[in-house]
Amino acid sequence: MRRPFIDRWRYPILVEYAQRYAQFVSGNTTTFTPKQEEILQVKKDVPGAQLFRTDIGRSLWLGWFGMKDIESVPWRDERVRQAISMLFDRAAFSEEFTNSAELVKGGLPAVETRWQSHVSPGHATYWLDPRKNELGDASKFWKYNPAEANKLLEATGYKDGFTLPAFSNGGNNYGATYDRKVEITLDMWQKGTKIKVNQQRPMYTEWFANYYNSPTRDFSDVAFWTNNLVRPDIDQDLFSTWHSKSGATFKGFKDARVDDLIEQQRKELDPQKRISIIHDLQRYLAPKMYAIPWEPLSSSYYFRWPWLRNSGFPGYDEWLSADMPRRNG
């Protein structure tokens, strides 16, 4: 099939939110992703625009622990790690950042939210849902329960808490929302227990080289937050995050059983058996809590003008129809 030549290619880079919004409303740009709390207002401002809901992303957000002095730090004990997970109110956190209740009140379908196990919910075939107790008894560690967390801390000898230095990227390249998410999480950890969080925000380079991408994780008394980008096949994610030989991206504790399960699923040719092995891996990792599954993943909304055709069909070329205002402007 013969296709016309491209007349022009316009890709405006608009760094300011107000400008992005104005250009979309005026019909100069095709797509706009508003802040979650402004979706209803934008819908009112631009009634002619179409609203799309995204799929759940394939990222995995974790809080992981330093390995230095691991024999003496409080989180050498899995019960402490379980307690830290139970102090994180995933439901409240999710509502804060998705604004879901307001959206439903405004007549939109609810935001879809999935809680991470130690596998990204974006890998829907393999992922087990902690909210449906698919992780067995260990699903309870995903539920917000400060009373139970305190009992666990008491049982481990940390009744009076401990200081937990928590590091996050202090550069501004992760955006303001990341900083807010970290602050809220750390606040949750301190609420209702005697754990004292000592927040530290090194510059991006130090963060990246010494903590995020540190093969030995040779730091003490720290926990970190960020995401791992998820690759096309789950094997790469499982290996890079949980296998002890993966190098800089390893976020777990050295555990022969974990390594073995990852290698087993790698060699398994039967899809059902492979799924079953990965389920076993998640059920094994759940009580171990080598890293804390962080924020629940959610779908979000974005707007597009109806004159952008073929929109939302991956793999098909989008095109601008003749009724686009300022088509030649």
Binding site: A18, Q23, T29, N173, M203, T205
Partner: protein, 317 residues
């Protein structure tokens, strides 16, 4: 006058030197490793060899005093250095940006003058009456609200109520005057009117002071009309303080342009500087800030020297 001018110009030299040292030291508080690391592709991050070769390429491996003399020497020769991010000479990158910022600030200054002078006079003439109250309140409001807030509101409301937004693609005045006007009109008005609040109040205060002078009373006693008194006797004497204040407004306009350029997506020096800050692009931050400093010092020098031209009674001994 010539001696004063010479002395005044010579005073700029140590000021610029002190400023360059201060600027250099303050920026170098951030470790150069961070700056280099930020420029690297994710895959190259953490690679000590790549980092070391880049440090060497940009001269960041040398002792601080050497880096300073290289940079300052380059500035004197018109060489502003090389951007860490784009690896291009900063002078070339600024060449197309300087006119944008210049036009924004200078035309903005003109708008400030055109708006504030007549309104300030009007406010003084109608002292303690409704127009005065309205103008003073508006002036206080303009003074209190930062220009970026006004700009954000204007951009948003124009889009919502008139489905209009300034064009995204920048065009230069000589390429497309109408397109240029569409892009630049709003930022110029916002920057100009935003700075006018302060000047309206100053003009009003100065004029009220002048109107209380003996020579104005004499002019009125001679039977001259109020309009003639104002035009011939009062306004002329307003020129000197007005120029002083408008000279002091130039730095405000230049610094406001940094934010306004970003908000309106204008490819000027301000946006270049803000982008460089987020990328820790040392040479660009240093050289562009230095250029801003030179512009501000030059504008103040011109303001000072214009006193004698405006008021022959002023002499410098």
């Amino acid at each position: 006058m010539a001696v004063y001018a010479m002395r005044r110009i010579l005073l700029v030299v140590p000021t610029l030197f002190a400023l360059s040292v201060l600027l250099f030291v303050v920026i170098r508080v951030l470790p150069p490793d961070d700056a280099i690391e930020l420029q690297l592709d994710e895959r190259a991050r953490g690679d000590a060899q790549v980092k070391a070769s880049l440090m060497q390429y940009f001269g960041l491996h040398q002792p601080l005093w050497r880096q300073y003399t290289d940079w300052a020497g380059g500035l004197l020769r018109g060489d502003l250095g090389i951007s860490l991010n784009s690896r291009r000479p900063i002078r070339d990158e600024l060449a197309s940006r300087i006119p944008v910022s210049f036009e924004l600030s200078l035309i903005g200054l003109f708008v400030t003058w055109v708006v504030s002078f007549p309104l300030g006079v009007l406010s003084a003439v109608y002292q303690d009456r409704l127009p005065d109250y309205l103008l003073c309140t508006s002036a206080y409001l303009l003074d209190a609200i930062p220009s970026f807030v006004i700009a954000t509101l204007v951009i948003t409301y124009l889009a919502v109520y008139f489905t209009w937004a300034p064009p995204v693609k920048f065009t230069y005045l000589w390429d497309d005057p109408i397109g240029y006007l569409k892009i630049m009109l709003l930022p110029i008005l916002i920057i100009g009117i935003g700075a006018a609040g302060n000047l309206v109040r100053f003009t009003r205060t100065f004029l009220l002071e002048v109107l209380r002078q003996d020579y104005v009373r004499s002019a009125r006693a001679k039977g001259l009309s109020e309009r003639t008194v104002l035009r011939r006797h009062a306004l002329r004497n307003l020129a000197l303080p007005f120029v002083t204040v408008i000279g002091a407004t130039i730095p405000t306009l230049l610094t406001s342009s940094v934010i306004i350029e970003r908000l309106f997506n204008l490819p000027g020096m301000g946006r270049y500087l803000v982008t460089a800050v987020s990328q820790l692009d040392y040479p660009v931050i240093q050289s562009t800030t230095m250029l801003f400093a030179v512009l501000i010092l030059t504008s103040q020098l011109i303001t000072d020297l214009s006193y004698t031209w405006l008021d022959p009674r002023v002499s410098y001994k």
